[in-house]
């Protein structure tokens, strides 16, 4: 159709390489994502120019925020006079953590944002950072970067099972005046254009994502909020049990895709 042909379409067969490392942007769906045969990173659906930005860390605008986090990591803050580096000398020690997040501990989902704020309030005597603020998103990206290229693998059994079920239920629930579920767009229609947007599977392996649209790093819960508002639904709160359950469920649907933090999206 003529009008859609003018959009710079993504090359859906392109493969993502960053600094000589090859990423898994397409693979067989895990068995628990029973309605999908294959899973794709959101990178696959972006226009060529956007895709290219992510292939070089100097061009990737997300790295400006990684630099911010490198400074924050060394910065003393709070009543205990400590910096992150006082207790965690090598940030590389966090390798693997992002790929397994969120995780369930004592029956509760724990996100990277919560771990970081726990260290700030409990170990540093510093103020908690805002969930989607620049400092938090930057630090989440910096810790996440240590796992870049590793396959996503979250635990969904045992303690995690009921929370995963809750997330799954939310994923298939219709909300808002437009009365749509996440699945309507991201499972039934990925690959299709919805007006000017090329629908992806809504995977979260790239988060935090740098978006050209708002020129900042975007948190997972921030994106959930945006999608809910678009269907004219009252979003759940960032950090809510609902969004954490949804995050666990979505992470599990992306099992096998590689961590792309910080990725670039439009």
């Amino acid at each position: 159709f003529a009008a859609t042909a003018s959009i710079a379409q993504a090359d859906e067969s392109a493969s993502l390489e960053i600094e000589g490392e090859t990423f898994v942007t397409k693979t067989k769906a895990p068995a628990h994502a029973e309605n999908l045969d294959e899973i794709y990173s959101g990178w696959v659906f972006r226009a060529d120019e956007t895709q290219t930005l992510q292939t070089d860390d100097f061009d990737n605008p997300g790295f400006v925020f990684v630099d911010t986090a490198m400074d924050l990591y060394e910065e003393v803050d709070g009543t205990a006079d400590k910096a992150c580096s006082s207790c965690h000398e090598n940030v590389e020690d966090f390798k693997g953590l992002r790929a397994a997040m969120p995780r369930v501990k004592d029956g509760k989902v724990q996100t990277m944002e919560e771990i970081i704020n726990n260290c700030r309030t409990e170990h540093m005597g510093a103020k908690a950072w805002k969930w989607s603020g620049t400092q938090m998103s930057s630090m989440v990206a910096y810790i996440g970067l240590q796992s870049r290229g590793m396959p996503v693998k979250v635990a969904i059994d045992g303690d995690a099972k009921p929370i995963w079920e809750q997330g799954k239920k939310l994923y298939y629930s219709r909300f808002g005046q437009l009365d749509m579920a996440c699945s309507n767009c991201h499972e039934d229609n990925y690959g299709n254009m919805i007006r000017a947007d090329h629908l992806s599977q809504g995977q979260i392996n790239g988060f935090p994502t740098y978006r050209l649209k708002n020129a900042k790093l975007n948190s997972i819960h921030g994106r959930f909020k945006g999608c809910m508002k678009n269907i004219r639904a009252e979003p759940f709160k960032e950090g809510s049990d609902e969004f954490k359950a949804l995050q666990l469920y979505l992470a599990s649907r992306g099992a096998g895709l590689t961590v792309e933090t910080p990725s670039v999206r439009n």
Binding site: I7, G176, Q177, L178, C185, N189, R195, A233, E234
Partner: protein, 136 residues
């Protein structure tokens, strides 16, 4: 449409196998306004999902639903009114929003709570516009 009937509130519309026979407002639809409602992103936003050759000048036609070229050759006016009013009565489980429905909506944003996406007259206008889409 039927010129004398009372307007039917959203939620009180009578369906017969997905179709709605009488005008929702008792008034005829306005084709020109229906065309506007169809493409307006805050109203019908139908182009989000449907391509429509009659609107070639508009960028970005979606691919989620079928093209609406020639749609009035495939459906009667009553059927089209039913589809736009409540798409789920014709297409079970559809992604297509129901444009004149107020019940059973989960967590609507406050400013939209209790309101249908379109007014009854806007639905009539869109239906009148759809009736002009014929195979060449």
């Amino acid at each position: 449409g039927v010129a004398t009937a009372e307007p039917t509130p959203a939620g009180k519309v009578q369906f017969e196998e997905g179709a709605v026979k009488a005008s929702l407002t008792g008034q005829a639809g306005d084709v020109a306004n229906g065309r506007k409602v169809f493409k307006n992103r805050k109203l019908g936003n139908c182009l989000a999902c449907h391509a429509n050759s009659d609107m070639k000048d508009e960028l970005f036609h979606g691919e989620v639903g079928p093209t609406l070229d020639g749609v009035s050759d495939r459906w009667t006016e009553a059927e089209l009114r039913g589809i736009v009013t409540n798409s789920k009565k014709t297409f079970e489980g559809s992604i297509m929003p129901s444009f004149y429905v107020v019940d059973g909506i989960g967590r609507p944003l406050k400013k939209f709570a209790g309101k249908s996406i379109l007014s009854g007259q806007q639905v009539e206008d869109v239906v009148a516009y759809l009736m002009t889409l014929k195979e060449q």
